[in-house]
Structure formats: C-alpha cells, structure tokens
C-alpha cells in the first residue's frame, strides 16, 4: 500500500533526478566530470549503506566488485552491446558477493572486514597473473555513442543506476528482509531466536552492493579508455566509499548523499593542490567520523532538529 507521503517522496525524488539529468546541457567540461564522480560515489556509497547501515558490517570489497565490472566491459564490449554488459556485470558481481558472503558472513564482523580488505588485492593478483600467462597487458575500451559524448552517456547511466538503488533501498526497507536486517543490527542473538535465518539474510543483502558496484565499474570502463589491473582495482575506492557513507550517515537512505557531495568536492580540491596528501585526508576523515561525527551529518541534523523541537 502506498500512502500520500510515499507518493510525494517518490515524486520529489523523480524531479530531483530529472533536474540532475540536465547537467550535461549546461556544462560539458569540468562540472560534468565532477558530476560523474558525485553520481558514481552516490551509487556506490548508497548501495554500501544498504548492507552496512543495518548490519554494521564494514565492507571494503567495493573496489573488487568495481574492478570486476570494468573487466566485464573491457573483455566483451566488442562483441556484446554496452547495455547488456551492465546487467551481466551486476550478475557476476552479485554472484561473487554471494560466495564471499557465504564464506565470511557466518562469522564475526572482524573476519569479514579483513577478508574484504584484501579481496581487491587478491583479484588483482590473480588477473595480473592470468594476463602474464596469456601475454596480455591491459585492455583498450573504445566506445562510441554517436552524437553524445562518452562522459554524458556515463553520467546518465549512473543517474539511472542511482534511481534503481534508491528504489531498491526503499523497497528493501519496507520488505520482510529489511525488517529482519534491522533486528539483526540491533541484536543478532534476538534475531536468531525469533526464527530469522540471519546468515541467509546477510548474504542476500550483501549481494546488492556487490551487483551495484560491478555495474558501476562496467558503466565507467569507457571513461578510462585503457584498463589495467592496478587502475581497475585501486583499493582507495573502497575506503572513499566507506568514508562518504559514514560521513553522511549510513542509517538513512539519503544519508550517504549528504557525505558524498562535500567529500567529493574536498577530494577534488585536495588532490588538485596537494596530490601527495590524499592519504592524510583519508586518515583524518576516518578520525573525524569516529571522534566527532559517529552518526554522520544525518545524526548531527537529527540532533539539531530534536533540540529545536524540544525548545518549542
């Protein structure tokens, strides 16, 4: 059943995405490339928070799924349509996430963090090794979208993905699975006693960010033109996604977006002016999240609103 507020929320979201879609008509250069970055991180961070928000499991696997997605496009774009490669990458990413989840999600959160931390490096080493065996080095991705620029097409694709992620998040939040996950996040023991198959729920949900990150990687492959393992599996990506999602607040569907926009802009400025200090920025961001903003900007806003409400 949809209430009037639901319909209003969906209408507002649709209008907001529609307005964002107009960006390439205004600027084709710097701002469009910033727009692509923001859209990309919005998709990645929001789908990350769908899993990690309720379960409190910190996944650092984004780069692994993303890299696999870029390789799906890089390997098959000559024979298969670009638009079919996106769902194909999503399926591959989802399946891999399922396997990783089955191996690690039965255990405590620490094992999961450690495993995902090295996953991108693991896949990178295997792909590099396979390429050395077959004599390949990198792969060129040269796609042509007719009258539209590659950047424009990627931007609209990412907006489409963002719409799908928000819709999925909204539907999961209303479903039995979403309800089960909220209980697991509060107390896994209680969840298990009330008959919830906690491992299955976690594995199922972990497949969502896996599939989304792979599709995002597949969509961004044409932007890189030349794909090689070190570029496709950059571990930095996983950390950026975690920071943005937590900075915004992983407890709300729109939370990560609040973190993505300021952090992407800050990242652009810092990497343009002090290219060697980006690791320091990442470190500082983690410390700020733990010590200053444990619930993100969303928590800050909600506290401010509660105080204003209490005073009135």
């Amino acid at each position: 059943m949809m209430s009037t507020t639901d319909i209003r929320t969906i209408a507002i979201a649709a209008v907001a995405i529609g307005v964002c879609a107009l960006l390439p008509l205004v600027d084709q250069g710097y701002w469009l490339s910033i727009g692509v970055s923001i859209a990309m991180f919005t998709v990645l961070a929001t789908s990350w928070a769908l899993f990690s928000g309720p379960t409190h499991y910190i996944s650092l696997a984004t780069a692994a799924f993303f890299g696999i997605g870029t390789y799906v496009t890089g390997s098959f774009y000559e024979s298969v349509s670009f638009w079919l490669l996106l769902p194909a990458a999503a399926i591959v990413g989802g399946l891999l996430a399922g396997i990783v989840g089955l191996a690690t999600l039965r255990l405590s959160g620490v094992y999961f963090v450690i495993f995902t931390l090295g996953l991108a490096e693991l896949v990178r080493q295997v792909i590099t090794w396979a390429q050395n065996m077959t004599g390949h080095r990198g792969t060129y991705v040269l796609l042509d979208f007719g009258s539209r620029s590659v950047e424009e097409v990627i931007y609209w694709t990412l907006l489409g993905l963002a719409a799908i992620v928000y819709l999925a998040g909204w539907l999961i939040g209303r479903s039995r699975l979403g309800f089960a996950l909220r209980i697991i996040g509060d107390d896994e023991e209680v969840a298990r006693h009330s008959g919830i198959n906690t491992a299955r729920a976690k594995v199922l949900l972990f497949m969502v960010p896996g599939a989304v990150a792979a599709a995002t990687g597949a969509a961004l492959a044409p932007r890189y033109v030349y794909i090689e393992p070190a570029l496709a599996f950059t571990p930095l990506l996983s950390f950026q996604v975690v920071i943005m999602a937590l900075l915004g607040g992983a407890g709300r569907l729109w939370g990560p977006l609040v973190g993505v926009i300021p952090f992407t802009l800050l990242w652009e400025v810092i990497s343009a002016t002090f290219p060697n200090q980006t690791t320091l920025l990442l470190g500082a961001a983690f410390l700020v999240i733990v010590y200053v903003l444990p619930r993100g900007f969303v928590g800050l806003l909600e506290r401010a609103r509660a105080r204003a409400g209490g005073g009135a």
Binding site: F115, L117, Q125, L246, T279, G283, A284, L287, Y291
Partner: protein
C-alpha cells in the same frame, strides 16, 4: 629444502609480528589495522640508523623497542581508551577500533610519505651467504630469524610463567572475571597494547635487514599478521607460531614455484580454508 628453509626463516619474523598483533587484539581487544604502519616505521628507524650511523639493526632494536612502547602506549591512552569507555558492546568497540585504526594507518602512511617520500628503501647488512644443507642463505635472514625466535621464546615464557603474564592471559579469556579477581584490566590492556606495538616495530626492523619496504607496504603486513592471528587462534601463542611458519613456507612455495606476484593470493587461499573448516584457529575448539 631450499624453499622450506627460506619459508621457515621468513615465518620466524612473521611469528614475531603476529605475536604483536595478537597481544593487541587478544588482550587489549583492539583490532589494530595500523599495525603494518608501526612495522614499516620500525623498518624506517633501522634503515635510518644504519645509513646515518652505521648502527646494526640488531642493536637498533634495543632503542626502538622502548620508543615504540611509549608511542603505542600514548596511542592507546589518548585515542583508544575513550572508545573502550564509550562502547556499549564488543561489536561497537570493534567497529570503532577498526575505523579509528584505519584513520591512524592512513595518517601514518601520509606522514611517512611526507617525511621519506614514496621510494623503496633497503640497505645491505650482513649479506654474506651461509650454506645450510647445500643451499646458500643470507646471513641477515638467519640473524633476523634467531633474534625473532629469541624474542618469541621470551614472550612465551613471560606470558606462561610470570604473574603479569598470567594476569594478561586471564584478561584474554574473560575481561569481566579478570576484574573480579583484582586484576587492573585498564592498566594491563594499555600495557599489552604498547608491548604489542613494540614487538611489531622490532619485527619491522628485523625484516628490513633483508626485505625491501616502502611507506605504503604496511597494509600487506597487517593483512598477513591478521591472517596468522586468525589461523593460530586469538590469544594463542603456540598457534600463532605454527601458523606463521606455515604461512612463511606456503608463501615461499607459491612465490618460487608459481609466481612471486601471487603471495597474497596464497595467504588468502589459506585464510579461506581456515574460515571454512577451522574458524576458531588451528588448535581452537567449538564454533565461532
């Protein structure tokens, strides 16, 4: 034979590093993901002492250990104790510790990059060959292995024979009950964390005698140490040593027989098998 000995020599130093992490995670309950950066910093110190003052890395460790102890003690008291205090559950502390030590790790890499640049660094010390069973091994590898073995043995004896060691093992088993029998958990946690950091830094100095390091390799060592700790069982010294030697041998095996680029992949394959079949560690009982 050649592979087995090289692997065991590497594994000996791994054991020391993993022991450092095990003290921090098993007793202080902090999953320290900045562990690898402490290791690289220890390596840097040895490198700097050797190039600037021709000091042997095996002497540097006597200065390095107290300094690293003090630095890690400060890190624990200033940054991590507030997290321990505010945490309502073990799970929350885990998440907070992971995020804040990630922060520390990145800050560490950033500072080391700023101070030393992004170059690889190594130095040549005791690079004379020694023949064991007909194969040649660098004397530096053997010296580092012996130093690591002595330290591991000392730690093992201390943990098992002394009163302080027993209190520390009691905390590893159950922090709540340890408090009830009059053990100062807060003070000993800080001590264990600092000791773990000192052990890790010394391990880094020993590794630097024969391995090439750079400012951003820390995370690889963190991962290996974590895999060893999980494989050996949290808080289990004997398991840690066996797991470290095993990892050293398997890594050397894969590097020399298949491809040197696959060492982490090999460590991971081992990790997956452990997670699937022995999630409590090699010698652990029951389910996780």
């Amino acid at each position: 034979m050649d592979i087995l000995i090289t692997g065991l020599l590497l594994g000996g130093t791994y054991a020391l590093i993993a022991m450092g992490l095990n003290l921090q995670y098993g007793i202080a309950r902090i999953m320290n993901l900045a562990n690898g950066e402490i290791l690289v910093a220890g390596g840097f110190a040895a490198f700097w002492m050797y190039t600037a003052g021709q000091t042997s890395p095996y002497l540097t460790i006597f200065v390095l250990a107290p300094v690293a102890f003090a630095v890690n003690w400060l890190i624990y008291v200033v940054m991590l104790r507030p997290l321990v205090k505010r945490a309502k559950s073990r799970g929350q502390l885990e998440v907070d510790a992971i995020l804040s030590t990630f922060g520390l790790s990145f800050v560490g890499v950033g500072l080391m990059l700023a101070a030393f640049g992004g170059d690889y660094f190594n130095y040549s010390y005791l690079a004379t060959p020694v023949t064991i069973f007909g194969d040649n091994f660098g004397l530096n590898r053997i010296a580092s292995f012996i130093a690591a073995a002595i330290l591991c043995a000392a730690l093992y004896l201390w943990l098992n024979r002394s009163r302080a060691g027993m209190s520390i093992r009691a905390i590893a088993v159950s922090p709540e009950s340890a408090r009830l029998v009059g053990i100062d958990v807060a003070r000993l946690s800080a001590f264990a964390f600092a000791l773990g950091g000192a052990v890790t830094a010394v391990g880094g100095a020993l590794l630097s005698a024969y391995l090439t390091l750079d400012a951003s390799t820390g995370v690889i060592f963190t991962l290996k140490a974590l895999i060893i700790v999980i494989m050996g069982g949290v808080g289990d010294v004997r398991g840690t040593i066996v797991a470290a030697l095993l990892l050293g041998v398997i890594e050397t095996l894969v590097a020399s027989l298949i491809d040197p680029g696959l060492t982490l992949a090999a460590a991971y394959a081992l990790f997956i098998l452990i997670l699937l079949f022995r999630p409590r560690g090699l010698f652990g009982r029951g389910a996780a």
